[in-house]
Protein backbone atom coordinates (compact mmCIF):
# COMPACT_ATOMS: atom_id res chain seq x y z
CA UNK A 1 0.00 0.00 0.00
CA UNK A 2 2.93 2.33 -0.25
CA UNK A 3 2.26 2.70 -3.91
CA UNK A 4 -0.28 -0.02 -4.23
CA UNK A 5 -3.86 -0.05 -5.27
CA UNK A 6 -6.77 -2.24 -4.27
CA UNK A 7 -10.21 -1.60 -5.65
CA UNK A 8 -13.50 -1.76 -3.77
CA UNK A 9 -16.38 -3.54 -5.52
CA UNK A 10 -17.99 -0.21 -6.48
CA UNK A 11 -14.72 1.12 -7.92
CA UNK A 12 -14.16 -2.05 -9.91
CA UNK A 13 -17.65 -1.68 -11.37
CA UNK A 14 -17.05 1.92 -12.46
CA UNK A 15 -13.74 0.88 -13.91
CA UNK A 16 -15.27 -1.88 -16.01
CA UNK A 17 -18.12 0.32 -17.20
CA UNK A 18 -16.18 3.37 -18.32
CA UNK A 19 -16.31 3.61 -22.09
CA UNK A 20 -13.31 4.90 -24.01
CA UNK A 21 -12.62 5.64 -27.67
CA UNK A 22 -11.75 2.12 -28.95
CA UNK A 23 -9.11 3.30 -31.43
CA UNK A 24 -7.24 5.48 -28.95
CA UNK A 25 -7.55 2.78 -26.30
CA UNK A 26 -6.10 0.16 -28.61
CA UNK A 27 -3.14 2.37 -29.50
CA UNK A 28 -2.60 3.15 -25.81
CA UNK A 29 -2.67 -0.51 -24.81
CA UNK A 30 -0.39 -1.49 -27.68
CA UNK A 31 2.13 1.12 -26.53
CA UNK A 32 2.13 -0.30 -23.01
CA UNK A 33 2.38 -3.87 -24.30
CA UNK A 34 5.49 -2.83 -26.27
CA UNK A 35 7.00 -1.59 -23.01
CA UNK A 36 6.78 2.10 -23.92
CA UNK A 37 6.09 4.66 -21.23
CA UNK A 38 3.15 7.03 -21.10
CA UNK A 39 4.02 10.70 -20.67
CA UNK A 40 1.81 13.42 -19.15
CA UNK A 41 0.46 14.87 -22.39
CA UNK A 42 -0.28 11.53 -24.06
CA UNK A 43 -3.84 10.34 -24.42
CA UNK A 44 -4.85 8.03 -21.58
CA UNK A 45 -8.08 6.39 -20.41
CA UNK A 46 -9.95 8.28 -17.67
CA UNK A 47 -9.67 5.35 -15.30
CA UNK A 48 -5.93 5.08 -15.88
CA UNK A 49 -5.52 8.71 -14.91
CA UNK A 50 -7.81 8.38 -11.91
CA UNK A 51 -6.23 5.24 -10.49
CA UNK A 52 -2.71 6.55 -11.03
CA UNK A 53 -3.47 9.83 -9.27
CA UNK A 54 -4.97 7.91 -6.37
CA UNK A 55 -2.08 5.51 -6.10
CA UNK A 56 0.71 8.08 -6.43
CA UNK A 57 -1.07 10.46 -4.09
CA UNK A 58 -1.47 7.77 -1.42
CA UNK A 59 2.18 6.95 -1.86
CA UNK A 60 3.13 10.63 -1.43
CA UNK A 61 0.97 10.98 1.69
CA UNK A 62 2.61 7.85 3.12
CA UNK A 63 6.05 9.40 2.75
CA UNK A 64 4.94 12.64 4.42
CA UNK A 65 3.08 10.96 7.28
CA UNK A 66 5.85 8.37 7.70
CA UNK A 67 8.17 11.19 8.67
CA UNK A 68 6.08 11.71 11.82
CA UNK A 69 6.59 8.40 13.68
CA UNK A 70 10.21 8.35 12.50
CA UNK A 71 10.81 11.94 13.58
CA UNK A 72 9.51 11.09 17.06
CA UNK A 73 12.94 9.82 18.09
CA UNK A 74 15.17 12.49 16.54
CA UNK A 75 15.42 14.37 19.83
CA UNK A 76 16.32 11.21 21.72
CA UNK A 77 18.55 9.28 19.34
CA UNK A 78 21.13 7.25 21.32
CA UNK A 79 24.15 8.96 19.77
CA UNK A 80 25.12 11.70 17.37
CA UNK A 81 25.78 9.46 14.36
CA UNK A 82 22.37 7.79 14.66
CA UNK A 83 20.78 11.18 15.11
CA UNK A 84 22.34 12.55 11.91
CA UNK A 85 21.32 9.45 9.98
CA UNK A 86 17.75 9.70 11.27
CA UNK A 87 17.50 13.39 10.37
CA UNK A 88 18.81 12.62 6.87
CA UNK A 89 16.33 9.81 6.50
CA UNK A 90 13.36 11.91 7.59
CA UNK A 91 14.42 14.65 5.19
CA UNK A 92 14.65 12.04 2.41
CA UNK A 93 11.10 10.88 3.12
CA UNK A 94 9.72 14.39 2.88
CA UNK A 95 11.66 14.86 -0.36
CA UNK A 96 10.16 11.62 -1.70
CA UNK A 97 6.73 12.93 -0.83
CA UNK A 98 7.45 16.07 -2.86
CA UNK A 99 8.71 14.10 -5.86
CA UNK A 100 5.62 11.93 -5.79
CA UNK A 101 3.24 14.88 -5.46
CA UNK A 102 4.98 16.29 -8.54
CA UNK A 103 4.48 13.06 -10.47
CA UNK A 104 0.78 12.99 -9.57
CA UNK A 105 0.49 16.69 -10.36
CA UNK A 106 1.44 16.05 -14.00
CA UNK A 107 -1.85 14.13 -14.21
CA UNK A 108 -3.85 17.24 -13.38
CA UNK A 109 -4.44 17.28 -9.62
CA UNK A 110 -2.59 20.12 -7.89
CA UNK A 111 -0.37 19.53 -4.87
CA UNK A 112 -2.62 21.78 -2.79
CA UNK A 113 -5.69 19.69 -3.69
CA UNK A 114 -3.79 16.59 -2.62
CA UNK A 115 -2.71 18.17 0.68
CA UNK A 116 -6.32 19.14 1.31
CA UNK A 117 -7.47 15.58 0.67
CA UNK A 118 -4.87 14.30 3.11
CA UNK A 119 -6.07 16.73 5.79
CA UNK A 120 -9.76 16.04 5.26
CA UNK A 121 -9.15 12.29 5.27
CA UNK A 122 -10.47 11.74 1.76
CA UNK A 123 -7.28 10.08 0.55
CA UNK A 124 -5.46 7.72 2.88
CA UNK A 125 -1.84 6.96 3.59
CA UNK A 126 -0.30 3.66 4.50
CA UNK A 127 -2.02 2.14 7.48
CA UNK A 128 1.19 1.19 9.24
CA UNK A 129 1.94 4.79 10.24
CA UNK A 130 -1.15 4.87 12.41
CA UNK A 131 0.84 2.83 14.92
CA UNK A 132 3.20 4.50 17.40
CA UNK A 133 7.00 4.23 17.57
CA UNK A 134 7.20 3.47 21.29
CA UNK A 135 10.95 3.09 21.69
CA UNK A 136 14.19 3.62 19.81
CA UNK A 137 14.00 -0.04 18.79
CA UNK A 138 10.76 0.69 16.91
CA UNK A 139 12.82 3.10 14.82
CA UNK A 140 15.26 0.29 14.06
CA UNK A 141 12.39 -1.92 12.89
CA UNK A 142 10.81 0.83 10.78
CA UNK A 143 14.13 1.93 9.35
CA UNK A 144 15.05 -1.63 8.36
CA UNK A 145 11.86 -3.53 7.62
CA UNK A 146 9.35 -0.89 6.59
CA UNK A 147 11.88 0.50 4.17
CA UNK A 148 12.68 -3.01 2.97
CA UNK A 149 8.99 -3.59 2.28
CA UNK A 150 8.75 -0.21 0.56
CA UNK A 151 11.71 -1.07 -1.66
CA UNK A 152 10.12 -4.39 -2.69
CA UNK A 153 6.98 -2.50 -3.65
CA UNK A 154 8.70 0.45 -5.30
CA UNK A 155 11.18 -1.59 -7.32
CA UNK A 156 8.21 -3.44 -8.79
CA UNK A 157 6.26 -0.23 -9.42
CA UNK A 158 9.27 1.41 -11.09
CA UNK A 159 8.60 -0.95 -14.02
CA UNK A 160 5.16 0.56 -14.47
CA UNK A 161 3.87 2.44 -17.48
CA UNK A 162 3.69 6.05 -16.30
CA UNK A 163 6.96 7.87 -17.04
CA UNK A 164 7.01 10.52 -14.30
CA UNK A 165 6.13 7.98 -11.56
CA UNK A 166 8.84 5.56 -12.73
CA UNK A 167 11.45 8.31 -12.78
CA UNK A 168 10.50 9.44 -9.27
CA UNK A 169 10.67 5.84 -8.02
CA UNK A 170 14.13 5.28 -9.43
CA UNK A 171 15.42 8.23 -7.47
CA UNK A 172 13.53 7.15 -4.38
CA UNK A 173 14.83 3.56 -4.46
CA UNK A 174 18.37 4.85 -4.74
CA UNK A 175 17.98 6.94 -1.58
CA UNK A 176 16.09 4.21 0.24
CA UNK A 177 18.89 1.75 -0.15
CA UNK A 178 20.73 3.94 2.38
CA UNK A 179 17.76 3.71 4.75
CA UNK A 180 17.74 -0.05 4.41
CA UNK A 181 21.47 -0.39 5.06
CA UNK A 182 21.46 1.99 8.00
CA UNK A 183 18.29 0.32 9.32
CA UNK A 184 19.89 -3.10 9.10
CA UNK A 185 22.98 -1.78 10.87
CA UNK A 186 20.81 -0.33 13.65
CA UNK A 187 18.77 -3.55 13.88
CA UNK A 188 21.87 -5.77 14.10
CA UNK A 189 23.49 -3.49 16.72
CA UNK A 190 20.50 -3.77 19.01
CA UNK A 191 20.02 -7.49 18.38
CA UNK A 192 23.66 -8.29 19.14
CA UNK A 193 24.02 -5.72 21.93
CA UNK A 194 23.19 -6.07 25.62
CA UNK A 195 20.33 -8.28 26.80
CA UNK A 196 18.34 -5.11 27.44
CA UNK A 197 18.84 -3.90 23.86
CA UNK A 198 18.02 -7.33 22.46
CA UNK A 199 14.79 -7.51 24.48
CA UNK A 200 13.83 -3.99 23.46
CA UNK A 201 14.23 -4.94 19.80
CA UNK A 202 12.28 -8.17 20.29
CA UNK A 203 9.38 -6.23 21.81
CA UNK A 204 9.41 -3.75 18.94
CA UNK A 205 9.49 -6.62 16.44
CA UNK A 206 6.47 -8.16 18.17
CA UNK A 207 4.60 -4.86 17.85
CA UNK A 208 5.42 -4.38 14.15
CA UNK A 209 4.99 -7.93 12.87
CA UNK A 210 1.30 -7.60 12.18
CA UNK A 211 1.40 -4.11 10.62
CA UNK A 212 4.20 -5.43 8.39
CA UNK A 213 2.04 -8.35 7.25
CA UNK A 214 -0.70 -5.77 6.55
CA UNK A 215 1.74 -3.59 4.62
CA UNK A 216 1.04 -4.98 1.16
CA UNK A 217 -2.71 -4.73 1.57
CA UNK A 218 -5.53 -7.27 1.83
CA UNK A 219 -4.97 -10.79 0.48
CA UNK A 220 -5.71 -11.38 -3.19
CA UNK A 221 -8.78 -13.45 -2.37
CA UNK A 222 -10.39 -10.34 -0.81
CA UNK A 223 -9.29 -7.89 -3.47
CA UNK A 224 -11.28 -6.88 -6.48
CA UNK A 225 -10.33 -7.93 -9.91
CA UNK A 226 -7.67 -5.57 -11.18
CA UNK A 227 -6.82 -7.20 -14.49
CA UNK A 228 -7.19 -3.91 -16.31
CA UNK A 229 -4.77 -2.21 -13.92
CA UNK A 230 -2.32 -5.06 -14.48
CA UNK A 231 -2.69 -4.75 -18.25
CA UNK A 232 -2.10 -1.00 -18.05
CA UNK A 233 0.92 -1.64 -15.81
CA UNK A 234 -0.45 0.45 -12.97
CA UNK A 235 -0.38 -2.56 -10.70
CA UNK A 236 2.47 -4.93 -11.47
CA UNK A 237 2.26 -7.62 -8.83
CA UNK A 238 -0.52 -8.86 -6.60
CA UNK A 239 -0.53 -8.02 -2.89
CA UNK A 240 0.19 -11.63 -1.96
CA UNK A 241 3.04 -11.92 -4.45
CA UNK A 242 4.75 -8.82 -3.03
CA UNK A 243 4.20 -9.97 0.55
CA UNK A 244 5.71 -13.32 -0.32
CA UNK A 245 8.75 -11.71 -1.91
CA UNK A 246 9.26 -9.57 1.19
CA UNK A 247 9.08 -12.56 3.56
CA UNK A 248 11.40 -14.51 1.29
CA UNK A 249 14.00 -11.79 1.44
CA UNK A 250 13.82 -10.68 5.07
CA UNK A 251 12.61 -13.36 7.48
CA UNK A 252 16.03 -15.01 7.51
CA UNK A 253 17.71 -11.67 8.21
CA UNK A 254 15.53 -11.27 11.31
CA UNK A 255 16.03 -14.81 12.58
CA UNK A 256 19.79 -14.88 12.05
CA UNK A 257 20.34 -12.39 14.87
CA UNK A 258 18.21 -14.31 17.35
CA UNK A 259 15.06 -12.21 16.99
CA UNK A 260 11.87 -14.24 16.65
CA UNK A 261 8.60 -13.48 14.93
CA UNK A 262 5.46 -13.70 17.07
CA UNK A 263 3.63 -16.17 14.85
CA UNK A 264 3.99 -19.94 15.42
CA UNK A 265 2.38 -20.61 12.03
CA UNK A 266 4.81 -18.57 9.96
CA UNK A 267 6.59 -20.93 7.57
CA UNK A 268 7.55 -21.33 3.96
CA UNK A 269 5.78 -24.31 2.42
CA UNK A 270 7.14 -26.67 -0.23
CA UNK A 271 5.79 -24.44 -3.05
CA UNK A 272 7.76 -21.49 -1.76
CA UNK A 273 4.62 -19.80 -0.42
CA UNK A 274 4.75 -18.25 3.03
CA UNK A 275 1.96 -19.25 5.37
CA UNK A 276 1.06 -17.25 8.46
CA UNK A 277 -1.72 -16.93 11.01
CA UNK A 278 -4.70 -14.78 10.19
CA UNK A 279 -3.32 -11.26 10.75
CA UNK A 280 -6.79 -9.91 11.58
CA UNK A 281 -7.78 -8.07 8.44
CA UNK A 282 -10.67 -6.53 10.37
CA UNK A 283 -8.15 -4.66 12.46
CA UNK A 284 -6.50 -3.48 9.26
CA UNK A 285 -9.85 -2.19 8.02
CA UNK A 286 -10.71 -0.57 11.34
CA UNK A 287 -7.37 1.23 11.65
CA UNK A 288 -7.27 2.36 8.03
CA UNK A 289 -10.75 3.83 8.33
CA UNK A 290 -9.61 6.05 11.19
CA UNK A 291 -9.73 4.04 14.39
CA UNK A 292 -6.06 3.43 15.07
CA UNK A 293 -3.84 4.57 17.94
CA UNK A 294 -2.32 7.52 16.04
CA UNK A 295 -4.65 8.48 13.18
CA UNK A 296 -5.90 11.56 14.96
CA UNK A 297 -2.49 12.86 15.98
CA UNK A 298 -0.99 12.29 12.52
CA UNK A 299 -3.65 14.37 10.80
CA UNK A 300 -3.65 17.05 13.47
CA UNK A 301 0.11 17.52 13.17
CA UNK A 302 -0.18 17.68 9.38
CA UNK A 303 -3.00 20.22 9.62
CA UNK A 304 -1.06 22.30 12.10
CA UNK A 305 2.02 22.39 9.86
CA UNK A 306 -0.09 23.39 6.90
CA UNK A 307 -2.17 26.04 8.61
CA UNK A 308 0.28 27.59 11.05
CA UNK A 309 2.70 28.36 8.23
CA UNK A 310 0.22 29.30 5.60
CA UNK A 311 0.84 33.02 6.08
CA UNK A 312 4.46 32.59 5.05
CA UNK A 313 3.46 31.01 1.74
CA UNK A 314 0.85 33.63 1.14
CA UNK A 315 3.18 36.49 1.92
CA UNK A 316 5.62 35.16 -0.68
CA UNK A 317 3.05 34.54 -3.40
CA UNK A 318 3.21 36.68 -6.49
CA UNK A 319 -0.36 37.53 -7.54
CA UNK A 320 0.55 37.78 -11.22
CA UNK A 321 1.91 34.21 -11.35
CA UNK A 322 -0.31 31.79 -13.21
CA UNK A 323 -0.23 28.16 -12.17
CA UNK A 324 0.42 25.69 -14.98
CA UNK A 325 0.51 21.88 -14.78
CA UNK A 326 4.18 20.79 -14.66
CA UNK A 327 5.66 19.16 -17.73
CA UNK A 328 7.23 15.96 -16.52
Amino acid sequence: MYGNTSLTAAEAKIMNQTVEDPILLEAFEAKIARGEKIEPNDWMPKEYRKQLIRMIEQHAHSEIVGALPEGTWITRAPNFRRKLALIAKVQDEVGHGQMLYSAAETLGKTREEMLNDLMNGKIKYINLFNYPANTWADIAVIFFLVDAAAIVNQTINAKGSYGPYCRALERICYEESFHLKQGHDNFVYLATGSQYQHDMLQEAMNRWYRPLIHFFGPPDRNSQHSEKLMKWKVKLASNDAMRNQFLDMYVSKILEVGITLPDPNLRRNADGIWEFSDPDWDEFKRVSSGDGPCNKERLEVRRYAEMAHRWVREALMNPSDKYKIPLA
Binding site: I74, N120, N134, M307, N318, Y323, K324
Partner: protein, 121 residues
Protein backbone atom coordinates in the same frame (compact mmCIF):
# COMPACT_ATOMS: atom_id res chain seq x y z
CA UNK B 1 0.19 13.28 25.36
CA UNK B 2 2.15 12.40 22.27
CA UNK B 3 5.21 10.15 22.23
CA UNK B 4 6.89 12.94 20.30
CA UNK B 5 8.23 15.74 22.50
CA UNK B 6 8.14 18.09 19.52
CA UNK B 7 4.41 17.58 19.20
CA UNK B 8 3.90 18.19 22.90
CA UNK B 9 5.63 21.55 22.64
CA UNK B 10 3.09 22.97 20.20
CA UNK B 11 -0.59 23.73 20.60
CA UNK B 12 -2.11 21.60 17.85
CA UNK B 13 -5.45 23.31 18.17
CA UNK B 14 -4.08 26.78 17.75
CA UNK B 15 -5.10 26.71 14.11
CA UNK B 16 -8.81 27.16 13.50
CA UNK B 17 -10.70 24.17 12.16
CA UNK B 18 -12.71 26.42 9.83
CA UNK B 19 -9.86 26.88 7.36
CA UNK B 20 -8.80 23.33 6.78
CA UNK B 21 -7.79 23.69 3.20
CA UNK B 22 -5.08 25.48 1.37
CA UNK B 23 -5.63 27.66 -1.67
CA UNK B 24 -2.19 29.00 -2.29
CA UNK B 25 -1.07 27.33 -5.49
CA UNK B 26 2.61 28.02 -5.76
CA UNK B 27 3.84 27.86 -9.32
CA UNK B 28 6.19 25.11 -10.41
CA UNK B 29 9.75 25.35 -11.72
CA UNK B 30 11.36 22.81 -14.01
CA UNK B 31 14.71 21.74 -12.59
CA UNK B 32 17.81 20.90 -14.65
CA UNK B 33 20.82 19.25 -13.09
CA UNK B 34 24.46 18.95 -14.16
CA UNK B 35 26.36 16.14 -12.53
CA UNK B 36 29.85 16.98 -13.74
CA UNK B 37 31.57 19.74 -15.70
CA UNK B 38 31.43 18.82 -19.34
CA UNK B 39 28.23 16.79 -19.01
CA UNK B 40 24.78 17.70 -20.29
CA UNK B 41 22.41 19.59 -18.03
CA UNK B 42 19.44 17.25 -17.67
CA UNK B 43 15.84 17.78 -16.63
CA UNK B 44 15.27 16.00 -13.31
CA UNK B 45 11.90 17.19 -12.01
CA UNK B 46 10.10 20.16 -10.53
CA UNK B 47 9.82 22.21 -7.37
CA UNK B 48 7.12 24.58 -6.13
CA UNK B 49 8.33 28.04 -5.20
CA UNK B 50 7.31 31.69 -5.31
CA UNK B 51 10.66 33.07 -6.53
CA UNK B 52 13.68 31.84 -8.52
CA UNK B 53 15.93 32.11 -5.43
CA UNK B 54 13.70 29.83 -3.42
CA UNK B 55 13.27 27.50 -6.38
CA UNK B 56 17.06 27.09 -6.50
CA UNK B 57 17.31 26.44 -2.77
CA UNK B 58 14.57 23.83 -2.90
CA UNK B 59 16.05 22.29 -6.05
CA UNK B 60 19.38 21.96 -4.28
CA UNK B 61 17.73 20.17 -1.35
CA UNK B 62 15.65 17.96 -3.59
CA UNK B 63 18.03 17.07 -6.41
CA UNK B 64 21.49 17.92 -5.13
CA UNK B 65 21.44 15.88 -1.92
CA UNK B 66 23.18 12.79 -3.26
CA UNK B 67 26.08 12.17 -5.57
CA UNK B 68 27.82 14.95 -7.41
CA UNK B 69 26.38 18.24 -8.62
CA UNK B 70 28.14 21.06 -10.38
CA UNK B 71 25.13 23.24 -11.11
CA UNK B 72 21.35 23.41 -11.13
CA UNK B 73 19.12 25.50 -13.37
CA UNK B 74 15.47 26.33 -12.82
CA UNK B 75 12.91 27.86 -15.11
CA UNK B 76 9.22 28.57 -14.67
CA UNK B 77 7.09 25.75 -16.08
CA UNK B 78 5.05 28.36 -17.92
CA UNK B 79 8.17 29.54 -19.77
CA UNK B 80 8.80 26.16 -21.37
CA UNK B 81 7.35 25.54 -24.81
CA UNK B 82 6.95 22.08 -26.27
CA UNK B 83 5.27 20.21 -29.12
CA UNK B 84 1.87 18.72 -28.55
CA UNK B 85 1.91 14.94 -28.14
CA UNK B 86 -0.47 14.70 -31.12
CA UNK B 87 2.31 16.10 -33.28
CA UNK B 88 4.63 13.22 -32.49
CA UNK B 89 4.49 12.13 -36.15
CA UNK B 90 6.48 15.16 -37.28
CA UNK B 91 9.58 13.34 -36.04
CA UNK B 92 8.79 10.13 -37.87
CA UNK B 93 10.93 10.71 -40.97
CA UNK B 94 13.99 11.54 -38.90
CA UNK B 95 15.25 7.96 -38.53
CA UNK B 96 14.33 7.21 -42.17
CA UNK B 97 16.82 9.71 -43.51
CA UNK B 98 19.68 7.25 -43.26
CA UNK B 99 21.80 9.20 -45.77
CA UNK B 100 22.59 11.48 -42.85
CA UNK B 101 24.24 8.68 -40.89
CA UNK B 102 27.90 7.71 -41.30
CA UNK B 103 26.97 4.00 -41.58
CA UNK B 104 25.05 4.77 -44.77
CA UNK B 105 28.28 5.20 -46.70
CA UNK B 106 29.80 1.82 -47.60
CA UNK B 107 32.33 1.81 -50.46
CA UNK B 108 34.55 -1.15 -49.62
CA UNK B 109 32.77 -3.45 -52.14
CA UNK B 110 33.20 -0.95 -54.90
CA UNK B 111 36.88 -0.48 -54.12
CA UNK B 112 37.53 -4.22 -54.13
CA UNK B 113 35.67 -4.63 -57.39
CA UNK B 114 37.72 -1.84 -58.92
CA UNK B 115 40.97 -3.29 -57.67
CA UNK B 116 40.13 -6.78 -59.00
CA UNK B 117 39.33 -5.33 -62.41
CA UNK B 118 42.37 -3.12 -62.71
CA UNK B 119 44.80 -5.34 -60.83
CA UNK B 120 46.04 -2.39 -58.83
CA UNK B 121 47.19 -4.59 -55.96
Amino acid sequence: MSLDPRVNRIDLHKVGSEEQHTNSHLITWEVFHQEKKGKQVIHVGIVHAPTPDLALILAKEQFGRRGATTNIWVTKTSDVYSFSSEDEDIFETTPEKTFRNPEFYKVRDRIEEYQAKHKTV
